[in-house]
Symmetry: C2
């Protein structure tokens, strides 16, 4: 196996399952630390701040600082900064998105914003949706943090940000730019943060349709671990296979 | 011109424009009354009760009782009654939908409802959407009062019920049954209420994509009046033409 300089690592299904610990995950990251290899946790969860994510990881004995967490909200803020540093932004979202946008110093606006960003917002209202639709009809660029259409919870599958985004794209007839996995933007932005070349970076995840697809599309080698969404059987159905597949992160050799 | 026994008449763009009176509309309906011809106002607006709609019409000097108003909420309630009289219902919607369902005596339920009905709800919350998604994933039949994706208002185009519905269909990956125009269900149900045969009934409206399309699909003769959405020029683009087209309802001869 190739020695990679950087690891981009998915969270749910890879580092833990909801509130359940995956024992091999902590050992895997501890070995990364021991070998002095850079790693960055890359998540489609737009609602949490990197501090909150790192804290959850540490609660599972996974070594993680906030600097090692890269959320789709951060990728979104970095992307907007690249295309228009002085853009005014209207967002729908929770603390993770708000914080990421504030940290980049964007000014916020309403119906006349230059950019509309939509992330999961469990305090959604008709007024918030109306302002987003009016701004997009006024010409604002429409960005969605991620297209996940359902969120697994203890109650069942709840509406995800892809569903919220579909409301706005259906009403305005404008399609958004999606940032999160399986899109390449979040991976391109993560590579800039981790600082390793794409040929030297491995994308690690449990979900073919998001983690592995994003890695393949961006030109990274990929490692699927069957501890979450995509089973060994299901994986066989895909034409483009990940570079590596394992049942447990304990199997991985550095 | 053929003598029709019944008229199904659209509201916005045909009887008035938003809060603006269309003078010929009152005269048209007064002539219907004079000729003793049955008429029923058929609207995709799910939020108002028939009493509220009739009151608005009377404020424009258009003769209208609540019995002469048929909303998509009423069509939805009638449709559910036909397919399963004892169904438990979870709905998202406003007073018009609530009243229509209550009048049919449906019992309401949550995640275990037999039927989920989605109508425009400007007090929408994440919890309401979540319950709808959970119920549909539990096997509830998914019905949407109408697919209008944008609502014209003085502020601009606001999200319509088609957009709200898209959130739920995207999250659940289940497509709803739509009741309102341009679907045939609302027209079939309206025919039952007005009691005239489809060959003896005329559909009158300003919008080709909803009113006229619904009439044609249901096998009715159709009359387009160019006082609202579809212009004379635009109408030429459609392959299937309405039976009649006029610039003002004053031109119509009974």
């Amino acid at each position: 196996m190739k020695k990679y300089q950087g690891y981009l690592i998915d969270l749910d299904g890879t580092m833990y399952r909801g509130s359940e610990k995956i024992e091999a995950a902590g050992r895997f990251v501890q070995r990364l630390v021991k070998h002095n290899i850079s790693y960055l946790f890359v998540t489609n969860n737009s609602t949490r701040t990197p501090e909150q994510v790192a804290e959850k990881l540490r609660s599972f004995d996974i070594p993680a600082t906030k600097e090692q967490v890269f959320t789709t909200s951060m990728a979104t803020a970095n992307y907007i900064e690249e295309i228009d540093k002085s853009a005014t932004v209207y967002y729908i979202g929770e603390e993770g998105l708000q914080t990421a946008l504030e940290e980049k110093g964007f000014r916020f606006a309403g119906e006349n914003a230059d950019v509309v960003v939509v992330g999961l917002d469990r305090e959604i209202t008709y007024e918030k949706l109306a302002v987003a639709c009016l701004a997009i009809r006024n010409g604002a660029k429409f960005i969605s943090t991620n297209g996940d259409f359902a969120l697994p919870t203890e109650r069942g599958f709840m509406p995800g940000n892809g569903a919220l985004t579909a409301l706005i794209s259906t009403s305005t007839q404008v399609q958004p730019i999606f940032i999160g996995k399986p899109e390449t933007i979040i991976i391109e932005q993560a590579l800039k943060v981790i600082g390793s070349d794409k040929t030297e970076t491995l994308m690690v995840g449990d979900n073919y349709d998001t983690d592995i697809a994003a890695g393949i599309r961006t030109g990274l080698d990929t490692l699927i671990v069957h501890t979450g969404v995509t089973s060994k059987e299901k994986l066989k159905e895909f034409r483009e296979q990940p570079t590596y597949s394992i049942d447990s992160l304990d199997e991985w050799k550095f």
